[in-house]
Symmetry: C2
Subunit: 149 residues, 2 copies
């Protein structure tokens, strides 16, 4: 058996890059850089944050790529209570978000009951339902702990 050849240093998670190929987009340097960075994020993040972390990549390209990944359901975008914007990695298909009102940490959740309920909401609602957004404001466990001091 041949000696294992070193992979291209720190390759991105193939599942994320394949998203580009699947949709016929080119796998370019800037896009790879952004995707690699996102792969490391466990918290919500802002576009400016990505832009700042990747000085070689133009701001417009950051926004363009985020939009692209948004369309591929790789990331999600949400509006916080104070009108701010947050992106976060999408780990499950359709889901909703909790946002800590103290520290801004984003959590994902999915409740089938709510989904079903919203679908049967047709009686109370004018028109045909084509989508929805739910955001739940929380005080996260660690902020709860911190404020108990």
């Amino acid at each position: 058996m041949a000696t294992r050849v070193a992979l291209k240093a720190s390759a991105a998670r193939p599942d994320l890059t394949s998203v580009l190929e699947d949709k016929g987009y080119r796998v370019t340097g800037p896009r790879l850089n952004i995707i690699r960075l996102l792969g490391k994020k466990n918290e919500g993040f802002s576009a400016e944050e990505i832009n700042y972390a990747l000085p070689g990549v133009g701001r417009a390209t950051v926004f363009r790529t985020l939009k692209l990944l948004l369309g591929a359901n790789v990331i999600c975008k949400l509006t916080t209570r104070d009108g701010g914007v947050k992106y976060s990695l999408a780990r499950v298909e359709h889901h909703h978000h909790t946002v800590c009102v103290k520290c801004g940490t984003v959590g994902d959740f999915r409740d089938v009951t709510i989904e079903r309920l919203l679908r049967t909401l047709g009686d109370e609602i004018q028109g045909q339902i084509v989508g929805h957004r739910i955001e739940v404001d929380v005080v996260c466990p660690s902020c709860q702990k911190a404020s108990r001091n």
Copy 2:
């Protein structure tokens, strides 16, 4: 009895102005102008729209007053699917919104089941729930009709 002195021309609906007094805010000209205008709005509106309609009132004051009315639950603010912002008169206490994805018309609804459900969501969710936002994207009846042509 003295001749009735002409009231300050076109007084605003007292219910809306009293909101200011109740909270200890001054009832000023600019605020009255904005409130009067809002009283006539049956659709959602933007801050710039108000600003444009009231050239005598500064843009900052428009935003300041909207924020104030937001705090008094006189109006509500929502984010549309495409990231735009809409304000609309609040006719019921706590409620949610439908937004037509074609024409942007805002509707209000309130479903007690959802409220109850969200409150009992605590098991699936990290942290203590302190609020929520729900927006439902719809195609409104008139846009449905229009697209059937």
